[in-house]
Amino acid sequence: MAVLVPLAFLTVVLATGFGAEPLPVHVVLDALRGRFGGAPVDPAYDAIVWEIRLPRTLLGLVVGAGLAIAGAAVQTLVRNPLADPYLLGVSSGASVGATAVITFGVLSSAGLWALSLGALAGALLASVMVFGIAMLQGGLTPLRLVLTGTVLSAAFSSIASFLVFKSAEPQAAQSVLFWLLGSLSGATWDHLWLPTAVVALSITVLMAASGWLDALAVGPDTAAALGVPVQAVRTGLFVLTSVLVGVLVAVAGGIGFVGLVLPHLARLLVGPRHRASLPVAALAGGVFLVWVDVVTRIAVRPTEIPLSVVTGLIGAPVFLLLLGRRTYRFGGES
């Protein structure tokens, strides 16, 4: 933690310098100072730093942090180290909403917010369905959640594919694919407050319940014996991760690997207790995604590549390295 907090600040400042027009650190700092009562800087630099790059960098920090804690929460909820934030069907539900917006112009009255709104609506609808089906079958048990989420994900993906296939828009497939793989290019200050509020609230709630999460990771009977209201905590975790991931997907699309790998990285660094691992996962996830975003901006100029292309390329070898470490067992038996 003592390392990660300064690292996060440093990341924000340094990453803001990267882009189509590289800016030296002192220009970034001057531009920031100019905004907080310092001497005014060249309006062009001010616009690049303040209006374009800083919101984007901060959004990366927030989304990365959110995905990492969502991943940790879902892994604890379903007691499965391979779970990721999208396991519960949220992202594929969002993709149906987003695809409907892109291909058929649904919600076009909402203007710039249409895509986010469509994705959020799809995400929440999918969550409600997974929740409803799991409850009808007897409750939110780990296996039932995994299976219901996986099956509904497949169904929603089919619907999204069908929408793309039926679309008359020639660019639709490209747009949908780009959205599905995640991007921070839509970042503005207006888009920042909702994810920031949701991520901050989620971290606060999860930290307050960290003891309960530790108990739940040992097993439902142990948790119940320790006075944890298991059903209520599971329901709370489900609702929290659904809203959290729904909002993140709505603002940044589906970003793979962050929510799967970062919780393990945090565990490896500070152990499995949520009180220690959640803040580390959040900060590391934020820093990681900001740098991934930098790579997507400068790797194939002048075009941008989607985030998941880079997270996958980095995440897969990291995960394999973790697998290869004999001392790390993803919290399970070897």
Binding site: D221, T222, G332
Partner: protein, 275 residues
């Protein structure tokens, strides 16, 4: 034949009144009346599948009773908040799968959850309770090790230490002697007796070893045929006829030549006894 030497009383530390238990959709036990007196060690015995673990879960409040109710100090368990219940009853299940990278001291510290505040750190009382629990099960040397480094017996003792760290007046242990060598089994059961005598704990144990049950329990409850089959002191309950009905074995009582205690010897059928 049913021997019941006591009725459910309001002075019981923990009592079951007309309790039925389900495992899945199958009713395992019905109409169980059982009282656990303050400061006693009650042994729960029965053949495989007679519902020992299920009954312990219901007594611990981890699972609801299908019918009837469990009383904790005379109050219905379902009226007590889960947090308050966990301060009063500690339950250690037969198998618990702790995350492999959890440290032993961290696992034991989970026992402090019912006492912790949402944002509170680890206070000195918790630290003391964890250290004390580790000392009681003789596992201080392993405090800093991760769970996957432990042997089966050490893991068992760590889980029991987690229950002890709860510092609850009532302790429910499901086959606590599993995986332990004979010396550790005796040490654990002596510890249980000491907790009852010195700290007024009330303990319910599910045990498979009838001889250990006879030696260390004040009273014994025998589960058989979907209910409580017999309930009383070891001398009253562990008779040849009860054991024959409940377990399908022939039991012979013998006197230890040195200690003078009564022990049980078992044989499968009559022909073994008259070769």
């Amino acid at each position: 034949m049913t021997i019941t030497t006591s009725r459910v009383s309001t002075t019981a530390a923990l009592a079951a009144s007309g309790v039925s238990c389900e495992a899945g959709t199958r009713t395992v036990l019905s109409g169980v009346d059982l009282d656990v007196r303050p400061g006693e060690v009650l042994g729960l015995i029965g053949a495989n599948g007679t519902g020992k673990s299920t009954l312990l879960r219901v007594l611990a409040g981890v699972r609801p009773a299908a019918a009837g109710e469990v009383l904790l100090g005379g109050r219905p368990l379902h009226q007590i908040s889960s947090r308050e219940r966990a301060r009063q009853i500690a339950f250690v299940a037969q198998e618990e799968t702790a995350p492999s990278d959890l440290l032993v001291s961290e696992l034991v510290a989970l026992g402090r959850i019912p006492h912790a505040r949402a944002w509170g750190g680890v206070d000195s009382a918790s630290r003391r309770a964890v250290a004390e629990a580790l000392r009681l099960v003789d596992l201080e040397y392993a405090a800093g090790q991760s769970m996957d480094r432990l042997s089966g017996g050490e893991r068992r003792r760590a889980l029991i230490a987690r229950g002890l760290a709860q510092e609850a007046p009532v302790l429910l242990l499901d086959e606590p002697t599993n995986h332990l060598d004979i010396k550790r089994q005796l040490a654990l059961l002596r510890l249980v007796r000491r907790l009852c005598r010195d700290r007024a704990r009330t303990v319910v144990l599910a045990l498979h070893d009838l001889d250990l049950a006879a030696t260390f329990c004040d009273r014994i409850a025998v589960l058989h045929g979907g209910g409580l089959f017999a309930h009383g002191t070891p001398a009253e309950v562990l008779t040849a006829s009860v054991l024959h009905d409940a377990f399908g074995v022939l039991a012979t009582r013998v006197t230890h030549p040195l200690t003078g205690r009564t022990h049980l010897l078992f044989s499968h059928d009559e022909s073994e006894l008259h070769p």
